[in-house]
Amino acid sequence: MSADIKLLEQKAREIRETLGETVYKAKIGHVGSALSTVEILTALYFHTMNVSPSEPKLPERDKFILSKGHACSALYSALAVRGFFDKKYLIDNYVKNGSPLTGHINSFGVPGVEFSTGSLGHGLPIGIGLAYAAKLDGRKNRSFVLLSDGECNEGSNWEAFLSAPHYKLGNLVAIIDHNKIQSYGRVEEVMPLNPFAKKLEAFNWEVKGVDGHSIKELTEALDSFSYYGSQPHCIIAHTVKGKGVPTIENTVASHYWPLKDEEYRALMESCRK
């Protein structure tokens, strides 16, 4: 079924707005890393994935692993907008003492989150374990793992890239949030990945490159995959770190700094258009 693009774009704006409120109130960083994931999460949670906010542990659900755990404010926001918990609960409790809404994604006490991460390179092997179990048991659950590009420096990911095609995990999708900036420099300066798509194809993945902020391209790519075949899929989503706040877009700084007042205002304005 093809996507209702206008509706999904509206959802993306709502997620970005919730994200902005959340991180601004908490005065916490990793904002740029979270902003680049919004359309990806929208496509997954509002179009592709079988999930149930009223039944977070639905046995036949699809599972999403945020391997770039520092983008948690985006996932928490997507889950809130999707209905797993209140937006107000998120905005009021993000990184508050005693709250399960920790500064890297936490699954304990947060409905809809499958696994806690925060150290890079863990998510894809976990996604592979989930997909492997489902395939072994003949279940339809699919696994979706979102990685950052900097995270692809980690050797564990390449172990994972080697193994998934061997295990014929057609029910697995890895999405790379390729915003071209890692935490202390541009990807091309620190540890270049190119030719990235060619590398992954050489590892026997099906690879699609998309504009990571185009709901149309994301949903078309996700719709095109054969989920019950034997080849795992990778979407290289070309994104902009800090997307939604023009003054912080494409900067290393956006990895770190909380939103300034004027940045928050600019973000809210763009979301409410």
Binding site: I126, G127, I128, L162
Partner: protein, 308 residues
């Protein structure tokens, strides 16, 4: 010990189709039968410990009861973060089965030796740590870890260890086993030093010293009751492990004694805080560290004579 473990695992795999065994490309001539009998429950995940451990976590999250097998340093150190963040933090049903405790791999060299593993495993919350003293304990421990669930670490020797117990052993995780009563001193041994402890007790008997011998197979949760009883009973505790003096059984007992109201003396026999850059059999390396049966006996003899 390896064979006792895998035989028990085969029994469990027969009854529970959700039991899975992952190996890091090791197990030639050890895991062959399991692989043949339970192909869907077996996976050689290759020389990729990080991916293997992450997969184990994913499988366990999805309802499998996972055993991961490898040589101890590769099993416990390479994917240590995965063990901590994915398995222990999420309290998942994953049992790590390590072979080659201490110097079991002898002349293969330091990369294959395991003298830090008890320390690094017991410091993780939720991780049970068991070092069976003989094949009977190994078999029982396998079953108990499966039954209890959650993260676990089973530290095996290699092959050919002597059976020190009868088959109908009452084995419980966290409950030490007294193999021999004694009144002058207590030998608390773990893993492949249990046999040595019995040897030492025999030698000391000739010197008119009566040794209690305890198998402290479970380092975590530690059997505090048995330790305090021994402290009350003999007041002279000697721990034996093929592991660094830092962080292992001896350290755990020392920590326990800080809470002991009475008086007791503790001496730790373990490996030195140094790397050996030479080749040696298990016996040779034990001797270099002063933990052969003969060396331990001599040391205790002097110790006990000095204090009298």
């Amino acid at each position: 010990m390896r064979n006792a473990f895998i035989k028990k695992l085969e029994e469990l795999a027969e009854q529970d189709k959700n039991l899975m065994l992952l190996t890091g490309d090791l197990g030639y001539m050890v895991l062959d039968d399991f692989k043949r009998k339970f192909p869907r429950q077996f996976l050689n995940a290759g020389v990729s410990e990080a991916n293997t451990m992450g997969m184990a976590a994913g499988l366990a999250k999805d309802g499998k009861k996972v055993f991961v097998y490898s040589i101890i340093p590769f099993l416990t150190m390479r994917p240590y973060e995965q063990i901590r963040n994915d398995i222990c933090y999420h309290n998942l049903n994953v049992t790590l089965v390590g072979v080659g405790a201490g110097y079991s791999y002898g002349n293969q060299g330091t990369t294959h030796h395991a003298v830090e593993d008890i320390g690094i495993m017991r410091i993780q919350p939720n991780m049970k740590v068991i070092c069976p003293g003989d094949p009977v304990e190994a078999e029982k421990a396998t079953e108990e870890l499966y039954r209890l669930g959650g993260p676990g670490y089973l530290r095996l020797g290699k092959a050919g260890e002597k059976r020190l117990h009868q088959g109908n052993l009452d084995f419980r995780v966290g409950k030490a086993i007294t193999l021999r009563e004694g009144s002058d001193l207590t030998l608390i041994a773990t893993g492949n030093m249990l046999e040595t402890a019995l040897d030492v007790a025999g030698r000391l008997q000739k010197e008119k010293l009566s040794s209690q011998v305890i198998s402290m197979h479970t380092i975590k949760p530690l059997d505090l009751t048995t330790i305090y009883d021994a402290a009350r009973n003999t007041g002279r505790l000697y721990t034996l492990e093929e592991h660094s003096k830092i962080g292992g059984l001896g350290s755990a007992v020392a920590e326990a004694l800080t809470e002991y109201e009475g008086r007791a003396k503790l001496k730790i026999f373990g490996t030195q805080d140094k790397f050996f850059h030479i080749s040696g059999t298990q016996q040779h390396l034990r001797e270099l560290n002063g933990i052969s049966a003969e060396q331990i006996s001599e040391s205790i003899k002097k110790d006990m004579a000095y204090s009298k």
